[in-house]
């Protein structure tokens, strides 16, 4: 039974016609945290969506596109699924989008398969999500996508021994696994893999241990915010920098907290797919549109994930309107220029193939602000964790 049948049945029960779903309006339901400690994600998404609409209007093909925002709070799969059902059944959305956390994205899998609703993931970065339904499309990244190139790049720079320190939760372990596999495949050695409890605030003992091991580099994965701050502080204060142990990270020097890190962050190297300092016409246009609407807005990976997600939705709507399977079909293999560089929707993994950059934190001479300066593309890859 398809969603149309079900909806017809429900409508008949309630004495409502299907006429309410006008052919010229396409609704997109955005499920994201808009309250609580992770509200920043929802705000970033919304700002990016508005920026995209101010640049490209609200019409794709012959369809008017509107967004409905739903707050999921934090990690809450029950709520996520209930919201998805409500959006599909009551609000009649044709597309779903958002999803910051993996469980929230996974929870809607059975629902979107049944309703054949293309669902664009703006953030959630675990490879396996896309295997749960053919209707998932991801415009963010996956952890192996940035961790494995980081390992290969490090080896090519002459780094032979590494200690990995990751936060002990899903994404951290994914990062550790991918880094280790890629580094050892090249011939390097991971001397030790430290998993730090999620609530760690004092990194001194861990980093002291790293210093004693005296590796060429320390690879780390931390959730954004305060842990990054104290980790980098300890890295500097305990003399790991002087000892010549290279810092290798991914999202640690993320833009929202970057200025707070201050001088300690300067020179830190990270491997990632987007920096607002990216030098391109598309990026400048995006940042201008964003700051015109929201002068205080800071662009980061969440913004660009949403921005490209909306781009993808516009393309799908133009090609297929509200026909879910056809829309996904149209999205596969699609190529476009994103603020982060060229993108391609991988037909197999349904995660974007993108450039991965090596960046270094430096102070911008003009603005006096810290930024992640891209020093080059080290890989152009899709989801490397797909076949694992």
């Amino acid at each position: 039974m398809t969603i149309r049948h079900i909806l017809t049945a429900v409508s008949a029960v309630c004495g409502l016609g299907l006429a309410a779903a006008a052919a010229d309006e396409i609704k997109v339901g955005v499920i994201a945290p808009f309250s609580g400690p992770f509200a920043q994600y929802g705000i970033q998404y919304q700002q990016a969506i508005e920026a995209f609409q101010s640049q490209h209007g609200t019409v794709a093909g012959e369809h008017e596109i509107s967004f409905i925002y739903k707050d999921v709070g934090g990690v809450n799969p029950d709520q996520s699924r209930a919201l998805a059902q409500e959006l599909l059944i009551r609000d009649r959305v044709d597309y779903l989008a958002g999803f910051t956390f993996t469980p929230n994205a996974l929870a809607v899998g059975p629902v979107i398969t049944q309703s054949e609703t293309p669902t664009v993931i703006f953030n959630a970065a675990t490879s396996t999500i896309n295997k749960e339904s053919p209707f998932y499309l991801r415009t963010s990244y996956t952890l192996p996508q940035v961790s494995a190139p980081a390992a290969e790049w490090a080896y090519d720079q002459g780094i032979r021994t590494v200690v990995t320190t990751v936060t002990d939760y899903g994404p951290g372990i994914d990062a550790e696994t991918a880094f280790k596999a890629a580094f050892e495949a090249k011939g390097g050695e991971v001397i030790e893999s430290v998993r730090m409890p999620l609530s760690t605030t004092d990194f001194t003992p861990i980093l002291q241990r790293v210093k004693d091991e005296a590796p060429d580099a320390v690879f780390t994965f931390l959730p954004g915010g305060p842990p990054t701050f104290s980790y980098t502080k300890t890295y500097n204060e305990n003399g790991l920098r002087e000892a010549g142990i290279t810092f290798l990270g991914t999202a640690e020097t993320e833009e929202i907290n970057l200025q707070g890190l201050g001088e300690m962050a300067e020179g830190l190297q990270t491997v990632y797919h987007y920096s607002p300092a990216h030098d391109s016409e598309a990026n400048r246009a995006f940042l201008t549109a964003l700051s015109e609407l929201h002068p205080d807005a800071i662009a980061n990976w969440a913004s660009v994930g949403a921005y490209d997600g909306v781009h993808l939705i516009y393309e799908m709507v133009e090609a297929a309107g509200s026909d879910g399977p056809k829309a996904v079909e149209a999205a596969l293999g699609l190529e476009w220029e994103s603020p982060r560089g060229p993108l391609e929707m991988d037909p197999e993994t349904r995660t974007v193939i993108q450039n991965v950059y090596i960046r270094e934190v430096a102070r911008n001479a003009e603005t006096g602000l810290l930024e992640n300066v891209e020093q080059g593309v080290i890989a152009t890859v899709g989801d490397l964790g797909w076949t694992k």
């Binding site: 039974m1 969603i3 079900i6 429900v10 029960v13 309630c14 808009f34 309250s35 609580g36 509200a39 929802g42 925002y69 739903k70 707050d71 934090g74 990690v75 809450n76 799969p77 029950d78 709520q79 699924r81 209930a82 919201l83 059902q85 409500e86 059944i89 009551r90 993996t102 469980p103 996974l106 929870a107 899998g109 059975p110 629902v111 049944q114 309703s115 675990t126 396996t128 749960e132 002990d168 939760y169 899903g170 994404p171 372990i173």
Partner: protein, 318 residues
């Protein structure tokens, strides 16, 4: 003797009416029903027996994971899954309660929180089994009693959850009036006196905690079957705390209070969050503050309070 059944009947009619009034919100209504089961379990533990706990999510999570694993590896039958959930919740409560029920007050509260945290960490570490932070997926419950399939809109889910919530309510209604229930209230009022008249306070409290754990396990199992995914958040402190707020909102020690508090909290939460996804927490905060200040015994006590107010008013006038 029929009077105590009237409110229960009204609630049942309301639940059936809700099905027809809000056909588009069945998923949300089902979540309310699951939460009602959890809050009822808390009412038994905290409201009846006076066991201060902030870790009811431990048993809820145990039930959810147990039911999920059972459905994936053993048998997809939902009712059997509920039993497994109840067993898991009850077993965890009995095990932890054997130690916890010897303590009281702040120590007890801290320990209940600790148990839930330990469970969450175990589930996090056992990634191979539980899926860790990604959540446990692949739960596909079979037909309820071999007859009704879980559908997309949530019709089966709603009636299924309503039946279970109704049965739990009825069971607690009976237990509350049984000698065991009355002895629990006695312990709540004065443990020393109950001890003096020869009641083993420890055993009664342990029994109540275990029973409450079993019911919380049922709630967890229900949520695993309806959402078809279990995440670490099933053990979260937030869940325990929210259940407690709902109970206090409605009024502790009254079954109607537990139901009313849950419905009001979740309905306000839902409407406020839908109308303003950014600032709705303010509304919830104001609601809780208002109830705590003006109706310290909960919303279920509103009629009594109003009566008292009216009487007081006459007194003042005369």
């Amino acid at each position: 003797m029929t009077r105590p059944f009237i409110p229960a009947l009204v609630m049942l009619i309301a639940a059936v009416a809700a099905f027809f009034l809000f056909p588009y919100n069945l998923a949300f209504l089902t979540r309310i029903l699951i939460m009602i089961v959890l809050v009822l379990s808390l009412d038994l533990v905290l409201g009846f027996a006076g066991i201060a706990t902030l870790g009811q999510a431990a048993m809820y999570g145990a039930g959810a994971y147990a039911a999920g694993l059972f459905a994936i590896h053993v048998w997809a039958d939902p009712v059997a899954g509920l039993l497994i959930g109840a067993l898991a919740g009850g077993a965890l409560a009995a095990l932890s309660g054997a130690v916890l029920m010897r303590t009281q007050g702040l120590t007890l509260i801290m320990l209940t929180i600790a148990v839930a945290q330990i469970c969450a960490e175990i589930a996090n570490q056992a990634r191979e089994v539980t899926g860790g932070a990604d959540g446990m997926r692949g739960i596909r419950p079979g037909k309820v009693l071999g007859l009704w399939e879980f559908d997309f809109i949530g019709i089966t889910g709603y009636w299924y959850a309503l039946t279970i919530a109704g049965l739990v309510f009825a069971a607690l209604f009976v237990i509350g009036r049984s000698p065991f229930g009355l002895s629990l209230r006695g312990i709540h009022e004065s443990p020393a006196r109950m001890e003096a008249i020869g009641v083993s306070v420890y055993r009664r409290r342990l029994a109540a905690y275990t029973l409450g754990g079993g019911i919380a396990g049922i709630a967890g199992a229900l949520s695993a079957q309806i959402t078809q995914l279990v995440s670490l958040e099933a053990f979260s402190f937030t869940l325990s705390a929210e259940a407690l707020i709902m109970l206090i909102l409605g009024g502790t020690g009254r079954l109607y209070g537990a139901v009313l508090g849950t419905v009001i909290f979740m309905a306000v939460h839902h409407t406020a969050a839908a109308n303003d996804p950014f600032n709705w927490l303010f509304v919830i905060g104001a609601l809780v503050l208002a109830v705590v200040f003006f109706l310290p015994s909960g919303i279920a006590a509103l009629p009594t309070s109003l009566k008292r107010l009216a009487k007081g008013g006459r007194h003042a006038g005369s």
